[in-house]
């Protein structure tokens, strides 16, 4: 049996490698292989996979990369992820990436798609605008066409057709992936001392940089190893972390929250592989299946419109209950429009549901952890004292 430490070491190496050696190796392993980068927060990876390409999650440069040229493109009041993404581009670290998908998150990522077109005219790039109308007849039809357009774009890029059966096979693999991911999350919610979030996080991030089948094996191995591991249970409070779906906090911040006495039992870090909440049907029209899953079975998050006022924040409250969290840390990147504009509404709903919460901001390269430990620690203490 592979130990959790071995698995996590491998994940950490992938996570830290800003040259993406593993993805480069994957591409070099067979002629004609293509790599498609995608940004947060949701892209139909099944389609990329069905095209025979490797979907590669680009989640900024973290806290280990110095940003020089990326900063030249952004004012001080814009978040950090587009800067470090540009830095990755101009320093040649993404020179093996054949295409880029910029999903709809906010205007900053949206505009980054245009910068990419100007900066890297030879890279196929696509702004992927998911529907904000959730009626299958309206938003659904629109989305099916968008998916077909994406499919056509990928076909042109690779020179091969994506058949419905290709797509069904990919959907099945990603269904398996989502199922295993949900299992890891459920396991962590049950026995958080056996699956620390710093590990679960790396496990998820690594999965966005490797072939899905391989990640499926890794998830299964981790579940076995974690269940068998013997780690002491601590008197930590159980919290959910929200607001961290796009620009990612530094690993140290994730660790700091745990060190401050919190078990993270639910989160929206990076999202992608938990964006769809149920299996996508593998019978029938696969494109339609993907579209309907997006419309009907996906998380509530800040970049999606919530059609009914009473539903706003409902997902968060339900997830908190389901995971048995005692409080919420609303941790957002500085200057993150989606998370910060949503904050008063989501926190309002948490308040109505009597769920204690705190909020703070970070950047992917935040250096000072003391204030984070301080706040998370005080929050943990207050929950212990008052509930």
């Amino acid at each position: 049996m592979t130990s959790t430490a071995e698995i996590i070491d491998r994940c950490q190496a992938l996570f830290e490698d800003l040259n993406f050696s593993a993805a480069r190796a994957w591409k070099a392993a067979a002629p004609g292989r293509k790599v498609i980068g995608f940004l947060p927060v949701y892209a139909p990876l099944e389609m990329i996979h069905a095209a025979g390409c490797l979907p590669l999650g680009i989640f900024g440069g973290g806290d280990q990369m110095e940003v020089i040229h990326g900063d030249a493109y952004y004012q001080s009041y814009i978040c950090r992820i587009p800067r470090s993404t540009i830095e990755l581009g101009v320093t040649g670290r993404l020179d093996f990436v054949d295409g880029m998908i910029f999903p709809f998150v906010c205007d900053v990522i949206r505009n980054l798609s245009g910068i990419w077109k100007m900066m890297f005219p030879n890279v196929w790039s696509k702004f992927f605008d998911t529907p904000q109308n959730f009626d299958p007849e309206i938003g659904g039809n629109y989305y099916i066409h968008e998916l077909q357009e994406l499919r056509a774009g990928l076909e042109t890029l690779t020179g091969r057709k994506i058949t419905d059966d290709d797509l069904r096979r990919s959907i099945a693999l990603y269904n398996e992936n989502r199922r295993l991911v949900r299992e890891v999350y459920a396991f962590r919610a049950r026995e958080p001392w056996k699956a620390p979030t710093s590990e679960v996080y790396l496990l998820m991030r690594a999965g966005l940089m490797m072939d899905v089948a391989e990640h499926n094996r890794m998830l299964a191995d981790y579940l076995v190893a974690a269940a068998a591991s013997d780690r002491p249970q601590r008197d930590n409070v159980r919290v959910a972390v929200y607001g961290s779906f796009c620009e990612q906090p530094p690993l140290n911040l994730i660790k700091s929250i745990e060190m401050a006495g919190c078990y993270v039992v639910e989160d929206d870090y990076a999202l992608v592989n938990r964006f769809l909440t149920a299996d996508v049907p593998t019978d029938g029209d696969p494109v339609q299946a993907l579209a309907l899953a997006y419309l009907g079975q996906s998380v509530e998050t800040s970049c999606k419109y919530v059609p009914k006022e009473e539903d706003k924040g409902r997902f968060h409250v339900e997830q908190v209950r389901k995971a048995g969290a005692e409080g919420v840390i609303y941790a957002t990147p500085s200057f993150c429009d989606p998370a910060l504009l949503d904050r008063p509404m989501i926190c309002g709903r948490l308040k109505e549901a009597n769920i204690p919460h705190i909020a703070f901001k970070y950047a992917e390269n935040s250096g000072q952890m003391q204030p984070i430990r301080e706040q998370a620690g005080t929050f943990a203490d207050s929950i212990k004292l008052w509930s």
Partner: protein
């Protein structure tokens, strides 16, 4: 003779350069920018004119064959004595101001005692001043405020202790007075002071006295003055006498190094990346955005935070063996990050090395925004004097732009004023 003057009113210091009609620099002057910009401009200009006189003396003395080899010594003595005369004059002013400021409720009934103590303090300050301006004496600063202030603290405490008076009594008077003195326009009669300085030097041969007196007799006509710098809008100049610091910096760098194409200036409040053409004309520029992160002030803040002098930061950072990565160039966050690192047991020099890298990374971004770095590259501003910052800059320029000649002039602080003076020449001569 015609003098063309450029004055650069910066956020921390004000600089002036005097030029002749052939664009030869005759003199430079610097003073601390104070709340009164008019005074700062007047003082820096006067300092530059003093320096101009010294240049004229040098020319005069240099023409005397029997003085060959001893001109530097003569000029050194003359300047030293002149500074001493000037210092004493300002000290008199400060004493008068202090005496006048012994008023208000806290002094009731003690006016006489305070006046006596002050009189004693100033007597000793005058006595001690001889040592300050003795041959070979090193002065920490050339600004009156710094020199008088340091001595006042020392001597004042001693005198107060002897007189059994709390030091705050006279410190209060001093604090109020030094601001007044500093903001008063400088006293005139530079020529007279030079003559007195000449007399101070004892009986000198005619071979020395005559060329000095001849040089003093040359009238220095302020033909055209150009103002620049952040405070330029507050200069009492007509609009056509004001140029942006970007233009002046570009032209100033060009005057120092005619092959300069890219200029980086890191000042107290802002960082500028400038591209100039072969004639010194600005082609493009970028400044730090609204947020002043990573400017000179950042280092000042760090120095305060570490309880060190600004000039000690660079040398300490040079001792680093393992640079710590500092991610924040925000002055506010940097303090927190610094304390965090110290708490983690990182060494001060390693943290400082990281901080210097952070400030230079920020400058690199501004350069990138301004269109990159072209050969030759000139680095100016206060931070150009910091060896740790320069080391990082050299490294990063090489990594990002290859082999580029990097110019750093010891007089780079005068770049803006030099450009201003050149503009003044061009306004009249062209």
């Amino acid at each position: 003779m015609q003098c063309f003057i450029g004055i650069d009113l910066g956020s921390t210091t004000t600089k002036a350069v005097v030029m002749d009609e052939n664009c030869h620099v005759l003199g430079r002057g610097i003073t601390n920018s104070r709340s009164n910009y008019d005074t700062a401009a007047a003082v820096s200009k006067q300092e530059a004119l003093v320096d101009t006189r010294l240049t004229l003396f040098r020319r005069g003395l240099g023409a005397v064959p029997e003085l060959a080899g001893s001109v530097d010594g003569i000029l050194g003595d003359l300047e030293r004595n002149f500074r001493h005369v000037q210092f004493l004059e300002q000290l008199d002013d400060l004493e008068r101001t202090c005496v006048a400021n012994i008023k208000g409720p806290r002094f009731v009934g003690r006016e006489k005692a305070v006046a006596e103590v002050l009189a004693e303090v100033f007597t000793r300050l005058r006595e001690h001043s001889a040592a300050l301006f003795a041959p070979g004496a090193k002065r920490k600063s050339d600004f009156f405020r710094d020199l008088a202030g340091a001595d006042f603290m020392q001597i004042g405490e001693v005198v107060c202790r002897e007189a059994g008076m709390p030091f705050e009594m006279i410190l209060n008077v001093y604090d109020k007075s030094i601001i007044e003195v500093e903001n008063r326009p400088p006293a005139g009669d530079m020529e007279g002071k030079f003559l007195r300085a000449l007399e101070k030097g004892g009986s000198l041969s005619d071979a020395i006295v005559r060329p000095v007196r001849d040089a003093l007799a040359i009238p220095l006509e302020e033909t055209y003055v150009v103002g620049t710098g952040y405070g330029r809008v507050r200069l009492p100049f007509p609009k056509e006498h004001i140029r942006s610091e970007i233009l002046c910096h570009g032209l100033g760098a060009h005057m120092m190094y005619p092959d300069t194409r890219t200029v980086l200036d890191i000042g107290g409040q802002d960082t500028k990346g400038i591209q100039v053409d072969p004639a010194g004309i600005v082609e493009n520029f970028q400044m730090n955005d609204r947020c002043a992160a990573g400017c000179g002030r950042y280092l000042g803040y760090i120095a305060d935070e570490m309880n060190m002098g600004l000039h000690e930061l660079g040398p300490l950072a040079m001792n680093s063996t393992k640079q710590v990565r500092i991610n924040s160039t925000c002055t506010v966050f940097a303090g927190a990050e610094l304390r965090d690192r110290l708490a983690l047991g990182e060494k001060r020099e390693d943290i400082l090395a990281g901080l210097h890298r952070a400030i230079i990374l920020r400058a690199m971004s501004i350069l990138s925004r301004a269109g990159g770095v072209k050969d030759q590259f000139t680095f100016t501003g206060g931070v150009a004097k910091n060896e740790a910052a320069v080391r990082e800059l050299r490294k990063l320029i090489k990594e990002n732009y290859g082999d580029v000649q990097i110019n750093i002039n010891p007089d780079s602080i005068y770049t803006g004023a030099l450009g201003g003076a050149t503009f003044a020449v061009r306004a009249v001569v062209n």
